[in-house]
């Protein structure tokens, strides 16, 4: 199970759906939401939203944490970053070193 959740395939598959991208955008705007909060943004059954969230969780794009009786959903951007670093960066050859980035940040 753990060995496959990292698969890029799962991330691409999870992202290849407008409802799931909408859910990620919702969490980007405000993180740590409950199922009920997310459900209220969509014209869909609770079960349908749960299924989409499950796929996002399997891809590692959503991480859930318990807070008392509530289950909160957080956007985990790391899998997208991994794809960026291993694929997109490779093809764009944009090799900006960490220090150069830091320099720019400090001088901004």
């Amino acid at each position: 199970m753990l060995a496959v959740v990292n698969d890029d395939d799962r991330v691409f598959r999870a992202l290849a759906d407008p409802t799931r991208r909408f859910l990620l955008d919702q969490l980007f705007e405000r993180d740590g939401r409950t199922l009920s909060e997310l459900e209220s943004e969509l014209e869909m059954t609770r079960f349908g939203v749960m299924k989409h969230l499950r796929l996002l969780e399997d891809a590692g794009l959503v991480v859930t944490r318990r807070n008392g009786r509530e289950k909160l959903h957080f956007l985990n951007p790391v899998p997208i970053r991994l794809i960026h670093d291993r694929w997109i960066d490779k093809y764009t050859e944009r090799r900006v070193s960490a220090l150069l980035e830091l320099k720019e940040e400090l001088e901004a």
Partner: protein
Amino acid sequence: MTMTEVKTTQVYEVYIKASAQKVWDAITDPDWTQKYAYQGRQEFDLRPGGSFKAFSTDEMRSLGTPEVIVDGEVIEADPPRKLVQTWHAYFSEETIAEPPTRLTYEIAEAPSGFTRLTVVHELEGAPVHAQIVASQWAENQGGGWSWILSDLKSFLETGKTLSS
């Protein structure tokens, strides 16, 4: 860039093909912390109340950063499973003015040989810290936890960092 509502808690998770002990060492051992991401020396006194210091590299110093760029206090250290600490950055006047944030590392090893590393950063009352660790500080959106964890994964799995 458009700033969205600032998140007060951020959660980051990554699966790394390495033992929990290796992941723990990469986070807490000063010799290891100099090998990936910002490559600064990080020193922990791994007991409740113990100090945490992250030092600038020579290059950072030449750009005018203070010697200690992040400091904090260890709240809980349970090697190699859990580390809870405060985290206060000296990146700018703005971060210095903010209260210390709370950082939790959870490390769980699975039988498959993968270790799940979860970073929970609680950033109550620290919106500038929140922007920085979410890579939303500068226009180029560099750095932050996503980049650090991606680089850590690359380093532990291949021996190479992303910039090397």
